[in-house]
């Protein structure tokens, strides 16, 4: 077994750096495996591979699946952080495998990869997303207006009003936030940060007229008040959404009824 070395990994910044010399290292991926068709227990399994540290964790998972063990199972599609398929716990933190470069993970030590927490594991890194999407659907994530006549042209919205909810429109429903939340781990009934982020997106949209209804939903015992402001969600969000801030804004709106 070769000792992993990081040659020239620090070439970032200069476009050409790194690609010219052989950039490969040997890295160990320690992956949490579970397949109910094989065993009722989840186990850790180590895989070693030669890889360019500037590649993504997703590339490493593909290399393992394609060259070593075809049974390794995970979801993925876009491979550049836009579809939300591949949130997983990498070295103990929730991230997208396709947006995490190996060089940023101290690859001289084994890199651990496990499914996100708080949702039932179905196979290897695949979890049951249904409860997550149910919480999303519960906050009525669609524009509601009361106007009886549809306007013929677009509704007007100032650039400032549009900016007000810009941050929360970026959500890709990857569940990295919700599945990093200790409250959600302990009690799956909690709506979780992602649902609140998506409620925020409408509550603060000047065109929407159902803010009150959504606030009532989130005022519920499983709603925003469960949040203990641990900031795990903000740290986890691959879209850089200020999740905790959005939750705070919803809490404040509940108190002041102004939004």
């Amino acid at each position: 077994m070769a000792t992993p070395t990081l040659d020239k990994a620090d070439g970032a910044g200069a476009p050409e750096a790194g690609f010219a010399d052989s950039p490969y290292i040997t890295a160990t991926f320690r992956i949490r495996r579970f397949n109910s068709e094989v065993s009722a227990e989840a186990v850790w399994e180590d895989f070693q591979l030669e890889i360019d540290p500037k590649e993504r964790v997703l590339d490493a998972l593909h290399k393992i699946k394609w060259d070593q063990d075809g049974t390794l199972t995970f979801r993925r599609s876009c491979a550049h952080g836009i579809c939300g398929s591949d949130a997983m716990r990498i070295n103990g933190k929730n991230r997208l495998a396709c947006k995490t470069l190996i060089k940023d993970l101290s690859p001289e030590k084994p890199i651990t990869v496990e499914p996100i927490k708080g949702l039932t594991v179905l196979k290897d890194l695949v979890v049951d997303m249904e409860p997550f999407f149910q919480a999303y659907r519960d906050v009525m994530p669609f524009l509601i207006t009361k106007d009886t006549n549809e306007p013929t042209r677009e509704r007007l919205q100032t650039a400032e009003d549009r900016e007000r909810f810009d941050d929360t429109t970026k959500c890709i429903l990857c569940a990295a936030c919700t599945s990093s939340c200790p409250v959600f781990w302990n009690d799956g009934q909690y709506f979780g940060p992602a649902a609140i982020v998506n409620a925020h997106r409408f509550i603060f949209d000047s065109r929407d007229e159902a803010g009150e209804q959504r606030l009532e939903i989130l005022n519920d015992k499983d709603g925003v008040w469960r949040c203990r402001t641990t900031f795990n969600c903000t740290d986890a969000c691959p879209r850089g959404i200020e999740v905790t801030k959005a939750i705070q804004e919803v809490k404040r709106a509940l108190i002041t009824r102004r939004f």
């Binding site: 910044g13 199972t73 470069l101 677009e154 949209d205």
Partner: protein, 585 residues
């Protein structure tokens, strides 16, 4: 095996599928089958915008938009369809706004618009601001907004269901759609969906290339399913290579970057597009820009030690503008290349991007079984389809438009059809047999070939031989290689023999689809001895309207002895008001 019965079944939940579902669910009992969770669809990756002549920021009209679309498509566009696209663009943008899409706004509060390649004022005079956008995540916002409205309408989804076969029943010698066969990822169970109407909205097929902006899951399953059942595929030789993919990775950097003022430069720092397209420069049509980039590279003016890329330079743009208008793509450069776009140019190369060809339809979204005959009950919309509004080369921002205009049209037409026909078409005998046999063969095979090897070789041969520049020689090389790979594919085996979440098995199925479609593309390209739009033949560098102003129709034929071959036929182009002219930008 389970059998389900619906009025309308939609295959795919990207932009086209969900736009169709919103219409069809209101009018008929609808099921949407999708291999990905709807919000994972690749529509979400679209960045730049959606074209519509709203004229919010400067003078514009749908007729100019129609002209640009026809010219951009190198006159292979069906002009009646392009006119519908451009006219209905305005309502389709307004529909999305009313559904809640957060477009960027002008100081007056109307939808803001920006420039995009090939879109011009008054028939090519100067670039026009026609693209409606939401920062550089327009596709994300379209996908989210449509999903939100599907939740609102109570659309019924079957998530992670892979449609693997199209069921056809012949009635009086006419092919009718009877339904589809799907594989459920979670359980490995096979489901037959009997439906009065089926709409394919299963997206593109870019994964037969190596450097591509397409998702891993864009494997042309819909095109392959109907093709295997004897229905034609139209204009498959036309594939778009987008000029600005991240070097070696293919991740797209939107043309909006050039719309905002970004400039392409060679290793000498020269703005080389001035030579190739004096008027539109960096915003010339995509095929023109991609060829210009490769010409620079071939003539030794490429960047880097291997001279194999050029730069997209955004450094002269104010950081605030990049943050406000291009936040996602600047972050891609930082994440994947470690480059700061405020100060350093970004290495790029053309990336395989968009299938202009696909399942032939008319303007109602009805699928054709030859040049004119409709297959009752069968519809297609979005990238899987060929209407043809994009001809030989799609203009940027016209696809998000296409999925909305023709997704809506197909949704309405299919649901109205299901409402008018009294009974379901009978299912063929043993409807799941083809899929059952295919799955069983792959699961039980002990062959020595591996999916990953064949796929890698396929992608390499496609990149090397049928990309931006093609010749008789290179295409023949590809045809031969594909034939070899298809033969080897018969001996492919998978490691995962299980039922639950067997993605190993499905990757093998997807590879089979890619191989079929790659062959159709190469064979169609070989026969088109001219250069037009995205199809550039170095041995025939000019457009040849006398012999090739016509759509290619490729059919799968199976001989009595079981040998497969491709038969090519041709279909006339619909021309209304625009006579073909030489394309200059």
């Amino acid at each position: 095996m389970k059998i389900h019965k619906y009025d309308t079944v939609i295959v795919g939940a990207g932009g086209a599928g969900m736009r169709a579902a919103i219409e069809s669910t209101k009018r008929s009992r609808t099921a949407v089958l999708t291999k990905l969770y709807p919000t994972r669809s690749h529509t979400g990756a679209a960045q730049g915008g959606m074209a519509a002549a709203l004229a919010n920021v400067e003078e514009d009209n749908w007729e100019w938009h129609t002209f640009d679309t026809v010219k951009g498509g190198d006159y292979l566009v069906d002009q009646d369809a392009a006119e519908i696209l451009a006219k209905e663009a305005i309502d389709s943008v307004l529909d999305l706004e009313k559904m809640g899409l957060p477009f960027n706004r002008t100081p007056d509060g109307t939808i803001d618009q920006r420039r995009f390649g090939g879109h011009s004022r008054n028939h090519g005079e100067a670039p026009v601001r026609r693209s409606c956008y939401a920062a550089d995540r327009t596709g994300h916002m379209i996908l989210q907004t449509l999903y939100q409205n599907c939740v609102k309408e109570g659309v019924e989804f079957f998530n992670e269901f892979y449609v693997l076969d199209q069921l056809i029943t012949e009635i009086d010698g006419v092919k009718h759609s009877a339904g589809v066969v799907a594989y459920e990822l979670a359980t490995g169970e096979i489901h037959v969906f009997q439906a009065k109407a089926v709409i394919y909205a299963s997206g593109g097929t870019g994964k037969f290339f190596k450097v591509t902006s397409n998702a891993h899951t864009l494997t042309g399953d819909g095109q392959a399913a109907v093709y295997r059942r004897g229905l034609p595929l139209e204009d498959m030789e036309f594939f778009q290579f987008h000029p600005t993919g991240i070097w070696r990775m293919g991740i797209l950097l939107t043309e909006g970057a050039r719309g905002e003022g970004g400039i392409l430069r060679n290793k000498d720092g020269e703005r080389f597009m001035e030579k190739y397209a004096p008027v539109m420069k960096d915003l010339a049509s995509r095929d023109v820009v991609s060829r210009s980039i490769y010409t620079e590279i071939r003539e030794g003016r490429g960047c880097g030690p291997e001279g194999d890329h050029v730069y997209l330079d955004l450094t002269h743009l104010p950081p605030e503008q990049l943050d406000a208008k291009l936040p996602d793509i600047t972050e891609f450069a930082r994440t994947y290349l470690g480059i700061e776009p405020y100060t350093d140019p970004i290495p790029i190369q053309p990336t395989a991007h968009y299938a202009m060809g696909g399942i032939p339809t008319n303007v109602r979204g009805e699928v054709l079984s030859d040049n004119t005959t409709v297959v009752p009950g069968l519809y297609a919309a979005g990238e899987v389809a060929c209407v043809s509004v994009h001809g030989a080369n799609r203009l940027g921002t016209n696809s998000l438009l296409d999925i909305n205009v023709f997704g809506k049209r197909a949704g309405i037409a299919a649901a109205e059809y299901s409402a008018t026909v009294a009974a379901h078409v009978e299912l063929p005998e043993d409807p799941a047999s083809l899929v059952v046999a295919q799955i069983e063969r792959l699961r039980s095979s002990t062959g020595s070939e591996r999916v990953a090897d064949i796929r890698r070789e396929l992608q390499e041969t496609m990149d090397a031989n049928v990309m931006v520049f093609r010749t008789e020689q290179t295409i023949k090389t590809a045809v031969e290689k594909i034939a070899e790979l298809r033969e080897r594919y018969r001996h492919v085996s998978v490691q995962d023999k299980g039922k639950r979440f067997n993605t190993d098995l499905l990757e093998a199925v997807e590879l089979g689809n890619l191989l079929d479609l790659a062959e159709v593309m190469a064979v169609s390209a070989l026969a088109r001895k001219e250069s037009r739009g995205g199809h550039y033949r170095e041995d025939y560098p000019n457009r040849d309207d006398v012999n090739f102003m016509r759509h290619t129709m490729a059919y799968r034929e199976v001989g009595d002895d079981g040998t497969e071959s491709i038969r090519l036929d041709y279909k006339p182009v619909v021309q209304t008001r625009y006579q073909p002219m030489e394309r200059k930008y």
